[in-house]
């Protein structure tokens, strides 16, 4: 039972409540850094670290954080982890850090992270909070990676810098420029809407068939 619960929190973030595709949160870093797959992954890892770390800390400290100033406390905890992530990336992969630039410190303003603290970590024990954070951050990373990969493949004809198509391929430069971010995410959301509609229709059909057979 206990294991199931934790597993459920984990899966929820990856697909059913995916922070980007379903809840449409955390858009700013989402679109800004996804012009290549490698940037998307670096951003995803940084967000993963910040979200899991701050969820654990908020959840462990939740008895001592006064209700009235909880938002400020969450923000300070998040900002601390973001600073750690910022300096770690600067030390380990200076080239990627330079590419991402100001968007690493801007993780702190990602509404998804604060939203998880407020909605989940401040109410549940540390174990569940960490599972929830891993799921949500995983879902966010998946979304970042798919957007980054689509944009890099179409806009550059490559993935992780490896060319995928022959010399005849004319890259759609617009995809790695800012408008491409808006358009790609718009089309992905459209696909999700379509998928949900199909699923609802399917469930309706099943319910209908069951009623018929009774």
């Amino acid at each position: 039972m206990k294991r199931n619960e934790a597993y459920n929190e984990f899966v929820k973030g990856i697909w059913r409540d995916n922070p980007v595709f379903v809840q449409v949160l955390g858009m700013c870093p989402m679109l800004a850094v996804t012009n290549s797959a490698i940037n998307a992954i670096a951003m995803g890892m940084a967000t993963f670290f910040v979200l899991v770390g701050s969820s654990f800390l908020v959840s462990s400290l939740r008895q001592w954080i006064p209700k009235q100033v909880r938002i400020s406390c969450f923000i300070i905890i998040i900002a601390t982890f973001v600073t750690v992530a910022d300096y770690t990336l600067l030390a380990l992969v200076p080239a990627v850090h330079k590419e991402l630039g100001a968007f690493i410190p801007l993780i702190v303003a990602n509404c998804m992270i604060l939203g998880r603290q407020e909605a989940f970590a401040s109410r549940y024990p540390a174990k569940l909070a960490v599972m929830d954070a891993i799921g949500m951050a995983g879902g966010f990373m998946l979304a970042l990676f798919s957007l980054g990969a689509i944009r890099e493949i179409l806009g550059d004809g490559a993935l992780f810098g490896v060319r995928l198509f022959g010399a005849d391929f004319e890259p759609w430069v617009i995809m790695i420029l800012p408008p491409g971010g808006f358009l790609t995410l718009g089309v992905i959301l459209l696909f999700f809407n379509w998928f949900r509609q199909k699923k609802d229709e399917f469930l309706d059909d099943v319910a209908e068939a069951q009623r018929g057979s009774d």
């Binding site: 700013c28 400020s72 923000i75 100001a102 410190p105 303003a109 800012p178 408008p179 718009g186 459209l190």
Partner: protein
């Protein structure tokens, strides 16, 4: 001093915060359903950006040279509390102005556009006046983008759009087309 007009136009059009840096997307997509609301939100954002530019300059000049690793925490805490303080002041001094933009202030205090402004201004080493002009350009640019999207959304309410595409998907595609239009401004200056 002679680069001030350049900074202004660059923040307003060429490097528009919303359409090329993707900053402040939450209010951009969330609150842009009516023209009037978005104009007021844009005004409030411009105001907070001006406050931010001043705060960032003061912090950078007097505090952060001694402790650069505290940059993020300092920015957030100082900007949030200054905005809250000014909000109280406006409420007391001019209730009409407070009704026009006061309700938005807590919403935008630390959104990414505000924090982004502080960080960009720091990274580029802007001085006091440069920061102010940059904030003004960025704020007006944000307002322009907001108002454009709101106008298009109001129009689309009246037209026959397939139910599937309604909502965020359509707004994102509209924003993409707007962003493409703004790319045209990139030719205004030779790259620097």
């Amino acid at each position: 001093m002679d680069n001030l007009p350049w900074i202004f136009v660059s923040a307003l059009l060429v490097n528009n915060f919303v359409l090329t840096y993707f900053l402040g997307l939450c209010p951009f997509l969330g609150v842009s359903n009516s023209l009037e609301t978005s104009a007021r939100l844009g005004m409030a954002t411009t105001f907070v950006m001006l406050v931010t530019a001043v705060c960032a300059w003061v912090l950078n000049t007097y505090v952060l040279i001694h402790a650069p690793y505290l940059r993020l925490i300092c920015f957030i805490v100082v900007i949030a509390s200054t905005v809250q303080f000014i909000e109280m002041l406006i409420k007391k001094l001019s209730p009409a102005l407070f009704r026009a933009m006061g309700i938005f202030l807590p919403l935008i205090t630390t959104n990414c556009a505000i924090l982004g402004l502080a960080i960009f201004a720091t990274n580029r080493g802007y001085g006091f006046w440069e920061g102010i002009v940059y904030a003004l350009g960025a704020g007006i640019g944000f307002t322009v983008a907001m108002v454009l999207l709101a106008g298009l959304r109001e129009e689309s309410e009246l037209s026959d759009v397939p139910a599937l595409i309604k909502g965020t998907a359509m707004n994102l595609i509209i924003a993409g087309i707007l962003s493409m239009a703004f790319m045209g401004f990139a030719g205004l200056f030779s790259a620097s």
